[in-house]
């Protein structure tokens, strides 16, 4: 039984996918229930597994490739890290699938939707539970495919198709790095299984530079999947997909695959401290970039999208500081409150018959009480206010950066020693906290408070049905309590102790007793400042925006144009690609076709000349015969 259980977890969603894929048209509305049921069963198995995941198990399904030295198996690695991810993935997916049954209820093609959702859950489960890099990569691609299918679900919309394509292509760029990393890893370690790789790290034959290179290349893949700068551009566009998709894939699960990758390869990264610095730098920069852009977004889903990018950046900051378990902690809490916020926004959008622009909202609090309450809980969690979930995890991230900054640097750059640059990252993290709180409550105030800006929309708004409200409630409980349950006391809570046996947990040298309460107080103060600013700007209408515009001319445009990244991408990549394409086309049309046509023309010319011998006149032919005869006989007579 113990060996079968790990396989049941992906088996149920796979079965749901197969059922809905085959019989979807006949099942119609029932497809949603099948999807939810499959995922719920998967979650149940994950719970049973987690209760038993003290000892890591690795049952293998079968050997896929066996050629001389290159052996690849499809197997499972069941350890606490995998268990945590499985619980998060299946749990959140189940709740979202239930919500989607209500949200997609009017959609005629919903069986197709509920075919891709369980397929995604299957792929994500297999990704998380794989025991070697190649298997992970396969399902890495699979979740990318599901993302493409779901973003472009409303395929009649051109913008949706573009967004889906953009997501897949940007991801592909990251995958190039990932694949390079996998190849190097095989060259260096001779195997792609985690256990084999970890066993060889630190040994005499491993080349430190190769290890760093592999770590960096794998991180490039993580940048693509987890939308870090500069491969973040696909996530906001991905909001073209239905809101449950945004909640599931682009907030709670798929985008966290990059974080999971780095955490899973923890020992590798601990052996490559330069790579960790890069990871932290990219993470904190992305967090800052995305938070600033979120300030000026008018579409509620876009605010949440940039917020996700920003929070993922914070997770990578934690990873870079060596606090892998903290990153996973934030991953879990973020899954709760971000999914909650997305589903809440979905409820609002559903109530307003598809309106997503906050400038046309306002005063929805009395009309959507349940949605408001849960949305507020999610917002408080995102802004990291005590005692909501986000507070505990975000505070630990900042604490991790602080500890890394003050720890003894040591003679060489080592993963378990300090690095002064983390002072900068810590400060940046505080700034991001302020911005986060600000844009979050700007969103809340614009949507639910004040006077309704579109009276017609406001009048028709109706609260969500139970099938949508219940998931909101469930997630709200998580957003409220998950942090406290999992993370108390800080650095030694339930989650930390659970994940302690996972290879790669770092303990910083000379970090000493962290002044926990002080750091926590700073975090809270910073977050409350952000909320206060938002209140002042949007509730009291003190026109802070106007002042900011006067103080920093051009800043608003800069942010609205997303730091001109689209222009950069367009100019650089698109022009380059177009130039190359035209050059290739010219070569093909003129040189290659020219040569082929030349061959044809030459043949025709030659034959044109040769055909002149065919006069069709009897006497010409007779003449030739006679001439030939004379020459032959004459020749014979002469040369006899």
């Amino acid at each position: 039984m113990r060996d079968v259980l790990p396989w049941l977890i992906p088996a149920f969603p796979l079965a749901a996918f197969a059922l809905n894929g085959t019989f979807g048209r006949r099942l119609r509305r029932f497809a949603g229930a099948i999807s939810t049921l499959g995922i719920v069963l998967s979650f149940a198995c994950a719970v049973v597994l987690a209760l038993d995941a003290g000892d890591a198990r690795a049952p293998t399904l079968y050997q896929w490739v066996a050629s001389n030295d290159f052996i690849v198996t499809i197997g499972f690695r069941v350890d606490p890290l995998a268990a945590v991810m499985l619980l998060t993935v299946t749990g959140i997916s189940a709740v979202i699938s239930l919500f989607a049954q209500g949200y997609m209820g009017h959609d005629a093609a919903q069986p197709r939707f509920f075919t891709w959702i369980p397929l995604f859950v299957f792929s994500m489960v297999m990704l998380v539970a794989s025991d070697n890099l190649l298997e992970l990569f396969i399902f890495w691609e699979m979740v990318g495919v599901c993302s493409y299918l779901l973003i472009g679900y409303w395929h009649e919309r051109r913008s949706a198709n573009f967004a889906a394509t953009k997501a897949f292509i940007v991801n592909r760029v990251g995958d190039f790095g990932f694949a390079s990393g996998v190849i190097l890893a095989f060259l260096e370690f001779g195997s792609l299984r985690y256990s084999d790789i970890f066993a060889q790290l630190g040994g005499p034959q491993t080349d430190a530079r190769m290890v760093t290179a592999i770590a960096l290349l794998l991180f490039v893949g993580a940048m693509g999947k987890s939308a870090q700068f500069p491969l973040h551009v696909w996530l906001p566009d991905a909001m073209e997909g239905p809101t449950p998709v945004s909640a599931l894939i682009h907030a709670a699960t798929m985008v966290t695959a990059g974080v999971y990758l780095v955490a899973r390869m923890g020992p590798l990264y601990s052996a490559a401290p330069e790579a960790l610095i890069v990871v932290a730098a990219v993470g904190v920069f992305t967090a800052f970039l995305a938070a600033t852009i979120a300030l000026v977004q008018t579409d509620v889903k876009r605010v949440l999208a940039y917020s996700t990018v920003s929070q993922l950046g914070l997770m990578f900051l934690a990873l870079g500081a060596g606090a892998y378990t903290v990153a996973i902690f934030h991953l879990v809490t973020h899954a709760f409150f971000k999914a909650l916020l997305f589903l809440g926004s979905g409820s609002v959008i559903h109530a307003l018959d598809g309106e997503q622009d906050m400038r046309r909202m306002g005063g929805l609090r009395p009309k959507l009480p349940v949605t408001y309450a849960t949305f507020l809980i999610g917002s408080l969690a995102l802004a990291a206010i005590f005692p909501f979930a986000g507070f505990w995890s975000k505070d630990e991230i900042l604490a991790g950066a602080y500890l890394k900054a003050v720890a003894d640097p040591g003679p060489a750059l080592l993963a378990d020693h300090g690095a002064r640059i983390f002072w900068l990252y810590y400060a940046a993290g505080l700034v991001v906290s302020v911005l986060t709180a600000f844009y979050t409550f700007r969103m809340v105030l614009l949507t639910f408070h004040g006077q309704p800006r579109d009276v017609a929309l406001h009048t028709h708004a109706h609260e969500a049905p139970v099938v949508m409200a219940a998931p909101l409630g469930a997630l709200a409980v998580g957003a409220l309590g998950a942090g406290a349950i999992l993370g108390v006391p800080p650095e030694n809570g339930l989650l930390h102790r659970f994940l302690e046996e996972v290879p790669g947990v770092l303990h910083l040298a000379g970090a000493g007793d962290p002044p926990t309460a002080v750091l926590a107080a700073i975090s809270m103060a910073v977050a409350l400042t952000g909320i206060a600013l938002a209140y002042v700007a949007y509730q009291r209408r003190m026109d802070l925006a106007g002042r900011a515009r006067r103080l920093l001319p051009g800043a608003q445009t800069f942010l609205e144009k997303k730091w001109y990244m689209d222009h950069l991408g367009d100019g650089l990549l698109v022009l380059l690609a177009k130039g190359a394409a035209y050059a290739a086309w010219g070569f093909d049309a003129k040189v290659v076709d020219g040569l082929v046509n030349l061959a044809g023309t030459l043949t025709r010319q030659l034959s044109g000349q040769l055909r002149r011998a065919q006069t069709g006149r009897l006497q010409n032919y007779a003449l030739l015969v006679v001439v030939g005869l004379v020459l032959t006989v004459g020749g014979l007579m002469v040369f006899r």
């Binding site: 065919q614 069709g616 006149r617 009897l618 006679v626």
Partner: protein, 99 residues
């Protein structure tokens, strides 16, 4: 009579016939020239048969004459068919197999 005399006459007949085939334009004349060439060859054949006192020469001539007769029949049939189209059959004009 010397053999040479017969051979010369045979050669002359053949050459005249060949020249006519190459030069003349009327199809009837062409056919007659072909006959001439055949007769030249037959004469040469018969002369050698007599000279070598071998009956096979004469036998071959009989065969050749038979074949010539059949060939003339076919040739004239073609001529008759053509003459329905062209009032005067000029070989110069028969170039429809021109490539």
């Amino acid at each position: 009579m010397s053999l040479n005399a017969f051979l010369v006459v045979g050669a002359l007949l053949f050459s005249l016939g060949a020249a006519g085939v190459l030069i003349r334009r009327n199809l009837i004349v062409l056919l007659m020239c072909i006959e001439l060439m055949l007769n030249g060859a037959n004469l040469t054949l018969a002369a050698f048969g007599a000279y070598l006192d071998d009956m096979r020469g004469a036998a071959l001539v009989v065969f050749a004459l038979t074949v010539a007769a059949a060939e003339v029949a076919v040739g004239l049939a073609i001529l008759v068919a053509l003459s329905r189209v062209y009032p005067v059959v000029n070989v110069d004009e028969l170039d429809q197999l021109r490539g």
